[in-house]
Structures are given as structure tokens and as C-alpha cells.
């Protein structure tokens, strides 16, 4: 996996544990104030967006309404929902910020997300065959996934997944690829399906029936506005999430490689398997701080607004251990993801170089 010896990997783990403990000990008022302010902003945007879209027949109200509601849904799903459901605020003992009770404004039931994301993805990050986020069961996102004829549609499938991302996430726990392979049947997933139906139905009724009905004759405008807001949120969250693990230079791992993994080894895999995005403070908030994917994967239950501060130390640790720290602006990282989607649509050719190798800094001499 790397040039590090076992002792060096363990030392790396201890340094990161120590960093984690330091931040945990410092959590308090400031973190609660931050997340409550974000929640306040989200609820304000939601109410104004909904109100403006009730007058969606007026073009400025429609545009403003779509903008406000899109922002509201982005904040709700990313900086609030994703992060609260990770347990980042469980220490506050506020039932409104409780990871097990939180439910977000998207089709995926919170319970299923907690399982497929918090456990499956964050434990088995980038382990081929175990991390179902690699391609979400529909895309070919790794050279090591065997090519099939239907992968020719990779770019088209990716575009569809982006547009319908909330539904892609909602059916993630159905494990369609295993149903397809005959490993399990749909009836094995009955409870999952019922929960998706219950949550999804309410989301659809709210956005596409109840709020349009309230607008009376303006219903079609409200309907179209809500549809647009959901679409914008879908595409945005898809872009941010795909930049987390698929840009060039991010490593994948085999099940054998992680068989007897130590805590330090787990940390190392998170660092090598994630990529960051650079941008403004507002950009980081709108990405749910998933722009700090490396820090998020090292410390998934530390409040995300702390990642920017932690990043300084993580970067320094990476340099010291001669490890890559994969980061770049959204355009570069997403461009690299799009190229991968197109490249992997085609079958591998003999002799053709695989993914361009990441430039690794020279490892410094380390006391073992």
C-alpha cells in the first residue's frame, strides 16, 4: 500500500489519535452555536423558498424561490443531515442533533443511510467488493471492476445518476447488483423497500402535491420550481461526492490488503483513498465540508466545521510521512472524475497504461 513500515504506520495512527482526542476535548458551545446557525439559515431559506414558489407565476419569485429552496436542500442534506447523522453532535445530547433520530429532507430513509454510509462506506472505504460507493452498483469506476458491455453507457448512466441522485442514494441499500447477480431476491429486501416507499412517498407528496396544491392556479409553477430545486441539489451533491474518492491518484484496495489491518492502517487507507477540494468558506459549507474528505474520513464523527483547522495538521503529517495529500479545485477534480467515467466505459486494452500515476512526494527519512 505504501512505503511505510508497520512501526511507522502505527506511529502515524498514534499521531492521528492524539489529534482526534485534542479536538474532542475542546468541543463545546462554539460547535453548537455553529450548527444551530447553519440550521437557522437552512430553515430560513426553506421557508422563503417555499413562500416565493407559491407565487411562482411571477418569474423573479420563481427564480428566487428555486435558488432559496435548492440552497436549503443542499444545506439540509450535506452540512446538517450528513454530518449530524454521523454522530458529530451526539455529545451535545440535544435530541434535535441526535444521529439516531435525525431525518433529512431527501428520499433516503435516515436509518438506511446510517447503515450504508456510516458503517459500510466508512469502514470499508475504497475496498473493492466491500465499499458499495464505488460506482453505486451501476457505474464502472475502477479498472479492477470487470468490464461488461453495458459499461459502454457509463457516461449516460452517470448523467442519469446525477439527475436522480436522491433516488440513487435511496435505493442504495437495496443492493440491486446482488439482486441482479441472483445472490439475493427482492423479497429479502422487503423491509428496506417498505421504508423507502414510506419515506419517498412523503417526500413526493410534499414537493409535488401538497405545496403545488396550496398555490392554487399557480400549481404548475410551484411543481416545476420544486422539481428544479431537487434537481440542482441532486447534481451538486453528486459532483461533491464523486470528487471524494474518484479523482486521479486516489487509491483503491483489495480485500486481502486490508485483512489484518491495524488502526494505523485504517487511518492510512482513509488518507490514500480520499481527495479534497479547495475553495472559499462558503464553498466548504455548501459541500457539507466534504471538500475536506480526507479529514472527514479520518475523523467522521468530529464536527465538520473543524476540518479546515484540522487540515493544517493533517497536511503536515502527510508531508512528514511522505504521503500524498490529494487536493484541487472542483473543476480539476471533477474533470478528472468525468475523464475516468468516459475512460472506463471502454474495455481495458492490452499494454495501455492504467490510470496516470499520482505524483508522490519523496518520503523523508523517518525514525522507525
Amino acid at each position: 500500500m505504501t512505503h511505510l513500515t508497520d512501526q511507522q504506520t502505527e506511529a502515524l495512527g498514534r499521531e492521528l489519535d492524539e489529534l482526534r482526542n485534542r479536538v474532542i476535548a475542546d468541543l463545546g458551545e462554539r460547535d453548537v452555536r455553529y450548527i444551530r446557525n447553519v440550521i437557522k439559515a437552512q430553515r430560513g431559506l426553506e421557508i422563503s423558498g417555499r413562500a416565493l414558489l407559491e407565487f411562482g407565476f411571477l418569474p423573479p419569485a420563481w427564480v428566487g424561490g428555486v435558488a432559496a429552496l435548492s440552497l436549503s436542500k443542499i444545506l439540509d442534506n450535506m452540512e446538517i443531515g450528513h454530518n449530524v447523522m454521523h454522530g458529530q453532535y451526539d455529545w451535545t445530547r440535544d435530541p434535535g442533533l441526535d444521529s439516531k433520530r435525525f431525518e433529512w429532507d431527501t428520499a433516503c430513509p435516515g436509518d438506511q443511510w446510517r447503515h450504508s454510509h456510516n458503517y459500510m462506506h466508512h469502514t470499508h472505504t475504497n475496498v473493492l467488493g466491500k465499499d458499495r460507493d464505488i460506482g453505486y452498483g451501476v457505474l464502472r469506476m475502477s479498472e479492477d471492476q470487470p468490464w461488461r458491455k453495458r459499461d459502454l453507457g457509463n457516461p449516460l448512466h452517470a448523467a442519469l445518476l446525477a439527475a436522480l441522485f436522491e433516488w440513487g442514494v435511496a435505493v442504495h441499500d437495496l443492493e440491486v447488483e446482488r439482486i441482479e447477480a441472483g445472490e439475493i431476491t427482492l423479497s429479502d429486501k422487503r423491509d428496506i423497500l417498505q421504508a423507502i416507499w414510506r419515506k419517498g412517498r412523503r417526500q413526493v407528496l410534499k414537493d409535488y402535491v401538497a405545496f403545488p396544491l396550496l398555490a392554487g392556479p399557480g400549481a404548475p409553477f410551484t411543481f416545476a420550481g420544486n422539481l428544479s430545486a431537487n434537481l440542482i441539489r441532486n447534481v451538486w451533491s453528486y459532483m461533491i461526492i464523486f470528487c471524494g474518492h474518484f479523482p486521479a491518484g486516489v487509491e483503491e484496495f483489495s480485500e486481502q490488503e486490508v485483512e489484518h489491518e491495524s488502526r494505523g492502517g485504517w487511518y492510512l487507507r482513509q488518507m490514500l483513498g480520499s481527495a479534497n477540494l479547495t475553495g472559499s468558506r462558503l464553498f466548504h459549507i455548501l459541500s457539507g465540508n466534504l471538500s475536506h474528505q480526507i479529514e472527514h474520513h479520518l475523523f467522521p464523527d468530529i464536527p465538520a466545521h473543524r476540518y479546515a483547522e484540522i487540515a493544517v495538521e493533517v497536511r503536515e503529517i502527510c508531508e512528514r510521512y511522505g504521503l500524498p495529500y490529494n487536493t484541487g479545485p472542483l473543476s480539476t477534480q471533477f474533470g478528472s472524475v468525468v475523464r475516468k467515467i468516459f475512460r472506463l466505459a471502454l474495455p481495458p486494452r492490452e499494454g495501455r497504461s492504467r490510470e496516470p500515476a499520482a505524483t508522490e512526494p519523496e518520503p523523508l527519512a523517518l525514525a522507525a
Binding site: G28, D31, R33, D90, R114, H115, T123, R202, P300
Partner: protein, 357 residues
């Protein structure tokens, strides 16, 4: 004969109607999935219709070791019966701390809840309140509970006894009986360490039907004994205070007796190799503390709790600890408060533990 009036909040109609509308299924769909309270609380924290909350309207300090808060509960608070306790949550440095207090106000004073909190030298919440409680602060309320309540057909003769901070539920009984127009004589005995610690003395002594005796045990007043009880034979007695007071009353009294004690649950934090019992409250089972994390010990006891990563990152095995102490094996931090969530896969018992499993 006195009958207790039903515990209802006589809501003005307009408020009742708006609460009903806000709780309707259509509104629930519109404000889903967060629920109406998550929006109302942004207007005013106590505007919630489902979460019981109260605003502090007055703070006074009757004695050097106590602080008295007057709260105005919102309509979500369902009231209490005199003598019962209520769980009260307040936020200190971003963390909600929950403690149990018996209100001292009358159960019929529905727009007011009075709490008198005795300050403990190492009490995080009580010291915080004594130093910083101020009007406009918001506290969270749980449902009232407890069996320390007078029969709803009020007895003809009453003997009420309290020790120290145990005066609060008894004070609630006195005020409730006063509001009900109870006109038999009530004997009231109160024991505190010093005269400076006597709470509510002026108010009790001004109650026409109450024959009150305030005793300072460390200033020559002495403790309760059989002779102090003898003259009240035939009455219904209720006593709230430290265990020693309850024992003394039980020893010298054989009439009807209600008791309540306020001792803080004692948590014993033992060393690295902890001794004790892990109790699983939901299943009613228990097991002696053994090797491994709590998750492993629970599984070894034949239960199958939810789990995921088994390394403290996914929070799937998060479980409510009702009482006892556990240690986080990653940080060494000990968690010993009542009713807090812990991650089973990275916790080991640090003494007796009771879990909601």
C-alpha cells in the same frame, strides 16, 4: 372530603385551536421530515407544541446554598401532581445536562413551575444555576413521574415531614392543599442543618391551617424521634429527605406513610479491571463484568445488539446508558452521568452499568 381536580391545562380556545392545526397531518407533511417544532423554536424556543419547555421568569436565592427558579412552561408540558418529580434539561457549554427536580409550586398553578435547587459543592448543574441562572433562559422538561403523591381523596389529618432539599415536594403539597381550600390542620416538620438553610419558612408560617416546626439539627435542634411523632398518631404521614430521616420516621411510625428520598445515585468508578454488574434493563437480564468491550460482553451474555464497524466510527451500536460509569478505550474518558448515549464497541465498564438493552 377533598377530591383532587383533574390535571388539565385550561388552554384559551384560540391557543388550543392553533396547537391542533399545527399538529395536523397536513401540516406534518408540509414540515416533514423535521416536524413543526423545529421551525417554531426558531421564532421562540418555547413556542414548540410537542417538546415541553419552559422559560425562566424569575430567579431568587432564598438561602446561601440554594437557588429558586420560577418557570413558565409551554403548552406541551402536561403538568404534574404535587410531590412528583420532573426531568429538567439545560445546556451548559453546548451539552444538555438533565437532572431530576421535584417542583415546589402548586399543581394547580398551571402557568408556573417553581424549582428550588440545593447547590452541591461538586454539582455541575446546581453550581451553574446558582452562579448564572437568569430570566429568559430556556429549560427542557420531561414528563412528571413518581408515586410520592397524596391520595386523591385527601386524608382528614396530615403529617408532612421533610429534611433539607426534600422540602420541595412537600411544599408543593402544602400549596396544592391551600389552593384546594383544604381546611383541616396540617402538621409540618422540617429538618435542616442550620437555620440559614431553612427554605420557605415565612410562607409556611403564614399558612393559616399549617402548624409548622423548623428544626436546625446542627444548632442544637436534634433529630426526629418517636416522641416528635407520637402526638400525630392517626394522621396520614408523608416524608421526603435523606435516607437517615426516612429510617427514623419508619422506626417510629406505624400509620399510613408515603416516602421519597433524594440521594444522588452513587457511581463507583473502579480501576482498570472493573468489578461489578452490567444490567440490561429492557430484557431484565444481567451479567458480571468480564473481559472485552461492552459490545463483546453483551454478546457474550447472549444478546444481539445492533453494531457496525466495531471500531467507534459508525455509531450504529450507540446505546442509552441509564446509570453507571463506562470508560472510552480510545481517550480514557469516563462517562458517569445518568441517561447518556455511549458507543458500546469502544466502551468498557468502569463499575456497575445499567443499559437500555
Amino acid at each position: 372530603m377533598y377530591t383532587m381536580s383533574a390535571i388539565t391545562h385550561p388552554l384559551p380556545n384560540r391557543r388550543a385551536r392553533s396547537s391542533k392545526l399545527l399538529g395536523s397531518r397536513f401540516v406534518d407533511l408540509l414540515v416533514g421530515p423535521h416536524g413543526i417544532d423545529r421551525y417554531l423554536e426558531l421564532v421562540r424556543p418555547t413556542m414548540t407544541v410537542r417538546d415541553a419547555r419552559a422559560e425562566v421568569v424569575a430567579v431568587r436565592r432564598q438561602t446561601p446554598r440554594s437557588v429558586t427558579l420560577t418557570l413558565r412552561p409551554n403548552t406541551a408540558f402536561k403538568g404534574f401532581r404535587a410531590g412528583q418529580f420532573v426531568r429538567v434539561g439545560l445546556e451548559i457549554d453546548g451539552v444538555r445536562r438533565t437532572r431530576t427536580y421535584s417542583p415546589a409550586s402548586s399543581q394547580h398553578a398551571t402557568d408556573e413551575l417553581e424549582l428550588t435547587i440545593t447547590v452541591h459543592p461538586d454539582g455541575l448543574v446546581s453550581r451553574h444555576l446558582q452562579a448564572g441562572a437568569a430570566p429568559n433562559a430556556v429549560v427542557h422538561l420531561g414528563d412528571a413521574a413518581g408515586d410520592f403523591v397524596l391520595p386523591s381523596e385527601r386524608p382528614d389529618r396530615l403529617l408532612l415531614i421533610s429534611g433539607g432539599s426534600g422540602i420541595t415536594p412537600v411544599m408543593s403539597m402544602l400549596r396544592t392543599l391551600r389552593d384546594e381550600g383544604y381546611d383541616n390542620e396540617i402538621a409540618f416538620l422540617h429538618y435542616a442543618r442550620t437555620a440559614a438553610d431553612w427554605l420557605y419558612r415565612a410562607e409556611v408560617e403564614a399558612m393559616p391551617r399549617v402548624r409548622a416546626t423548623f428544626v436546625a439539627t446542627r444548632e442544637g435542634g436534634g433529630h426526629i424521634d418517636a416522641s416528635a411523632l407520637a402526638e400525630h398518631e392517626g394522621a396520614h404521614a408523608a416524608v421526603c429527605g435523606p435516607p437517615a430521616l426516612l429510617d427514623a420516621v419508619r422506626a417510629g411510625w406505624d400509620g399510613p406513610l408515603l416516602t421519597e428520598t433524594f440521594t444522588a445515585p452513587s457511581v463507583t468508578v473502579t480501576g482498570a479491571a472493573a468489578q461489578g454488574t452490567v444490567r440490561f434493563l429492557r430484557t431484565g437480564r444481567e451479567a458480571p463484568i468480564s473481559e472485552g468491550t461492552l459490545l463483546e460482553q453483551i454478546e457474550a451474555a447472549g444478546l444481539s445488539p445492533e453494531f457496525g464497524c466495531r471500531m467507534g466510527i459508525c455509531h450504529t451500536c450507540t446505546c442509552r446508558k441509564i446509570a453507571g460509569a463506562v470508560r472510552d478505550i480510545r481517550t480514557g474518558e469516563v462517562f458517569d452521568e445518568e441517561d447518556e448515549d455511549i458507543q458500546l464497541c469502544v466502551s468498557v465498564p468502569a463499575g456497575d452499568v445499567a443499559l437500555e438493552i
